[in-house]
Symmetry: C2
Subunit: 225 residues, 2 copies
């Protein structure tokens, strides 16, 4: 931390954190470079030394969230040896983990898409679409493999992404549960929401009834030892 | 619509819609009364005749959403003759319906809580807590009645509210599904996420295995006729 580069990185990070709070509280448009300097009790020239203008701070803050979300989702799609429920679990776990690690940046991205330079906005939107496609694809795969119920895959994908994204609005670091525990609860809820279960018995007739008999027997055998 | 009051209401509504778009795009702080007048091609005095300042427009726009959400949730809690799954279904249906009917107002509320007058901000936050409590209480009720799996009721409540709220970020009126259809899909996903089903077999041992055997037999009997 004594090396100049380390100190510079630390200050850049402090600038980004202070700016993100101001952008969220006042809005990007109503926040000036002077406001950011004041919040950190540093001079304006010092602030300008690190960031040319507030748009660059915004870019630095939000650029990685959607791109990172998309990158992680792509890795799951191309993972070998995972079935659809395993893939969906991984998608939810890692997306919730990303949002919980960077809730301010995520809220800011959601609020300030309009303020991003055109190229960056396009990249963010492309990454968001890619994330949605990954969730949709895995849910469709699960339906085709008869592991998931025949739900509307697109709406289900939005629902899963939504419950992860919404953590940015309520999660508190000092709260009752650790981020990791929240991720697990959300993954469990997401999988259960689409997995074939009791509800399917009503529609699947004899095939499913036989499956329940087999599972019931297996359960008893396991319990007996 | 020819009565003066009707025409005034219509213009007030047009002002609110135009202002909500500007507030979302530019931020509340960076939007002026002049901007709103320009967007509607009306004079500034005319705008001021209807709204004293932009804070009043913001109030008019967002005040009803959380209060209405809380009011609807309270009605479900006090409804008689509904079990926990029926209550949860109703909570999700009506909350998604509210957000889908007023996505702009909801996004705006989420973005601009800081800009609301103190009293109104307190009312909005109280209503939000009330909504969360209602979801949490119904999920706890379902767990106690053994209709729901033993999930973390608080996180599950946030997950359900989050998937409803997130529709404000993706729903398009001209999209593939009607709002009503989206509500149904979300309610179905939410109920399935917590309902006792196949997943419970792993933890519930012999009792659940016997239940599966009974249900399997009942299913076969029904299929035979």
């Amino acid at each position: 931390m004594n090396a100049p580069s380390g100190r510079a990185d630390l200050l850049k990070q402090r600038i980004c954190t202070a700016a993100s709070k101001l952008f969220i509280r006042r809005g990007f448009g109503a926040t000036s470079m002077q406001d950011i300097a004041d919040a950190l009790r540093i001079s304006r020239p010092k602030l300008y030394y690190y960031f040319r203008d507030k748009a660059v701070i915004l870019e630095t803050l939000v650029s990685n969230v959607p791109v990172e979300a998309h990158r992680r989702a792509q890795a799951v799609l191309s993972a070998e040896g995972l079935d659809a429920p395993q893939k969906l679990r991984q998608l939810i776990l890692q997306h919730a983990d990303l949002i919980l690690a960077r809730p301010l940046e995520f809220r800011l991205l959601d609020m300030s898409l309009e303020h991003l330079p055109r190229g960056m906005k396009a990249r963010a939107q492309k990454a968001k679409r890619g994330l949605l496609e990954a969730f949709t694809q895995v849910i469709r795969e699960g339906i085709e493999a008869e592991k998931f119920r025949p739900v509307d895959a697109r709406v289900a994908a939005f629902a899963m992404i939504g419950m992860c994204n919404w953590t940015a609005a309520w999660y508190r670091r000092e709260g009752r549960l650790r981020a990791e525990e929240i991720c697990k609860v959300l993954a469990d809820l997401g999988i259960s929401a689409v997995e074939k279960g009791k509800g399917a018995a009503r529609t699947n007739g004899m095939h499913h009834s036989l499956k329940m008999l087999r599972e019931g027997i297996a359960g008893l055998e396991a319990a007996i030892g």
